[in-house]
Subunit: 184 residues, 2 copies
């Protein structure tokens, strides 16, 4: 592998690592916000896998004598693929959570599809194999997020019905909790 | 359809409209940045479809006696689904462009999957039909973006080779243009 080929792989691995770091933060938040057992389980399981992905990507960076980017750099890198501030935004309803993570999982799918191709093109088969392994799990995770669409729409319409009854605004987990408490 | 059911549909239609507005801005930028005929064609064709989608969503809003949100509100709405600032970010390489739009198309897919369900649940079949029609085209567009992965990786590795030869950084169209100008 030529030096500049290796550079491209390392660059893409750094982006991949920044995205996994964002994924960890956002999935932790999603578990807190889900407010529904079935949906929470989807995010919790993928959070566990994501710890493994972060480690795999970090190991590939270390194999090239590189460390993951520092936080400041990470934010800039994330910004470059349109993720700036995503970590700070709390999707408020199961519907927004589902939209957000369906998009995010596909950002990761595209990321590993491309990392696989770039690594193969640069002759780095180990990185390509890691990318293909993670890719498979990201695809499965995206499918699971899609499976929350029915429940998310249901919850929105239920919230709407009880809103009609109680005259209060729902949507955020906090509001729902307050409602639950008010009911009991 | 109850008033609060209609409210949910209108709310989701406003989000959908904000996303289509973002899509228009970003696809225009993508056409400028593509710097490759095959890739440019993908974004150009979807830009045309997106004008149609924006119109369809606006018509459904108008059917409920609502207008699309004003720009300020649009930014806030977009922020709510994690799109804040996306319009300002120029993905610099075909690889980043592909990642960005693959994620963005899936945000739209999720959006219309959910709009369809919410509208059906609220008894608004016309909106549900519009959502299903747009959904089909968003799915096709996502597939076409995925078809650019090979070419995007190829261009990155080609840029890397010529970078090696020319000793200059490539990637963004602007950088390439500056390079062209510097040469002439």
């Amino acid at each position: 592998m030529g030096d500049s080929g290796e550079e491209r792989v390392v660059e893409h691995l750094r982006d991949a690592h920044a995205i996994e770091e964002q994924a960890l933060k956002q999935l932790e938040r999603a578990v807190e916000l889900a407010n529904d057992d079935q949906i929470e389980q989807v995010y919790r399981e993928h959070l566990e896998e994501t710890h493994e992905h972060e480690k795999l990507v970090r190991e590939r960076l270390e194999a090239h004598d590189h460390e993951p980017s520092a936080v400041k750099d990470l934010t800039m890198r994330s910004g470059a693929v349109g993720l700036r501030q995503l970590a700070d935004i709390a999707p408020e309803t199961p519907v927004k959570l589902a939209m957000h993570f369906y998009a995010f999982e596909h950002l990761e799918i595209a990321n590993y599809e491309l990392l696989g191709r770039i690594a193969r093109g640069a002759g780095d088969d180990e990185t390509a194999q890691a990318a293909e392994k993670i890719l498979e799990q990201e695809r499965a995770a995206a499918e699971k997020v899609a499976e929350t669409f029915d429940r998310a729409a249901e919850l929105l319409l239920e919230a709407e019905e009880s809103e009609g009854e109680e005259g209060s605004d729902s949507g955020s987990e906090e509001a729902s909790r307050e409602k639950e408490e008010a009911k009991s």
